[in-house]
Amino acid sequence: MANLFGRAFKPSQFLQSKFAILGIIVLLVVWFSVAFALDRRTIFLPGTTSPGHVLFEASCSSCHEGFSPVTNETCLRCHEAEMAEDAHGPKKFRDPRWADLLTRIDVLTCTACHVEHVHIFARGVHLKPDLCMNCHEEIITGELASHDGFAPDGCWTAGCHNFHDHRSISTGFLRQNMNAPQLLPTPEVPVLKEGDRPTKPPKPDLNQEFLQAKFEIQNANLASRGKE
């Protein structure tokens, strides 16, 4: 044994290092428990959080239920509007012509392209930007003359195609809206409906209550106003 560790190794040092290791373990346990107790959970993050989610990265339970994998339902809790018209949704892959393509890349699972806390390319996508080539390589290799020789990573990064909702950038949409003037004759901003306005506002109804109230102001904005 002594030969194995060399001459410099002494039992007293071993004792010391054992305590050092123990000490570190104890420190880590304390540090983790304190982090938990004080809601400082960011120290548990396995990597950098994407710009879209970084603001609430301290709230693990927003996306994680224990250690089980993140499900589509979790994502849809916030991203329902984005997925309302999904060009690569379940409807597309119910068609037997496309169903097999799911074996190349399982695009019906959000985490196939959107993994969190790893290097993100852009828009929450962690795959290399040429991900479309998994299924659409023919487009740039001869199937569509107009796209011959296009870069394999340019489909979405150049802004021409959207994976999910492509309604406002589809060829059909562009064709329909060609040749419009720079400035339309009249702006067509949706108008907010307003109710009938009475001629006189009512009398304020809580003045006395506010004057008598004793309270602590937690809100910084309100506190600064109170001082004015």
């Binding site: 400082r40 064709r175 209550e209 109170g226």
Partner: protein, 268 residues
Amino acid sequence: MKGRKTKQLIVCFMGLFLWWSLLFFSPTAHAGSFTEKHIEEINLLWQNSAHAFADVNCSSCHLQPETKQLIVSPNHESCQSCHKQQVETFLLGKHGIRLQEGLSPLTPAMARLPMKEAAGDRQMNCNTCHDVHSANTFTASVDSCLTCHNDSHSLNYVKSKHGLLFDQGRSLPKPTADLVTCATCHLPRQKIEGTKTIFVNHNNTYNLLPRDRMVKDVCMNCHGMEYSYNSIFDDELVEANFAAPPTQYLQTLEMVKALEEKRSGTEN
């Protein structure tokens, strides 16, 4: 002896760690009370506001409906009782997501975009942008944004065509449809699904990417499609807040034009 010393050291370190950790979490509270003058000022603001004319009185927001207890600073939940979609969408964007996920409100100090230093600790809730007593939409649609945002795009707004239009309309009771505010583009008006009712989508992140989302829902309300796309895909122009007409013609649009010509050619 050495073992005991190490133990003592460990205990010391643990204590230090605990103290350091506790430093992270120190709540700040300010005691305060309102004076008659303060309440008079608020009443005056409120009496000319859309809230007053819609019969939304002090008690509508400041009184807990069941317990009849005074709520000094109502939060977004109170606003939600009337402005359901607005609050729901606010909570999904960067401005509101922390509240939705049970964290402290967003402050400009947490942002990655350049923010005004003086605004660093402003807490993001409905009242931060909408001074709810005056409910002034000039404030909410431009002035509030520029209280915090300090990036070139935001700062260049004031001298942009959109900003000049807005300035000309300052004397109106509220911004009209032809005034282009920050909110016109970033908090667009949309239909509530399945109805004809229009509401202001307060998810400020929603139409930023992909960029065509803003083109269809916002730019194309006033501009042609080509003009809109050529502008929004020019990063320098975006930074200049669209100070000049676009100088590029996107290859995509050229391809669609060529396709169109080819189709009409074969049809004739």
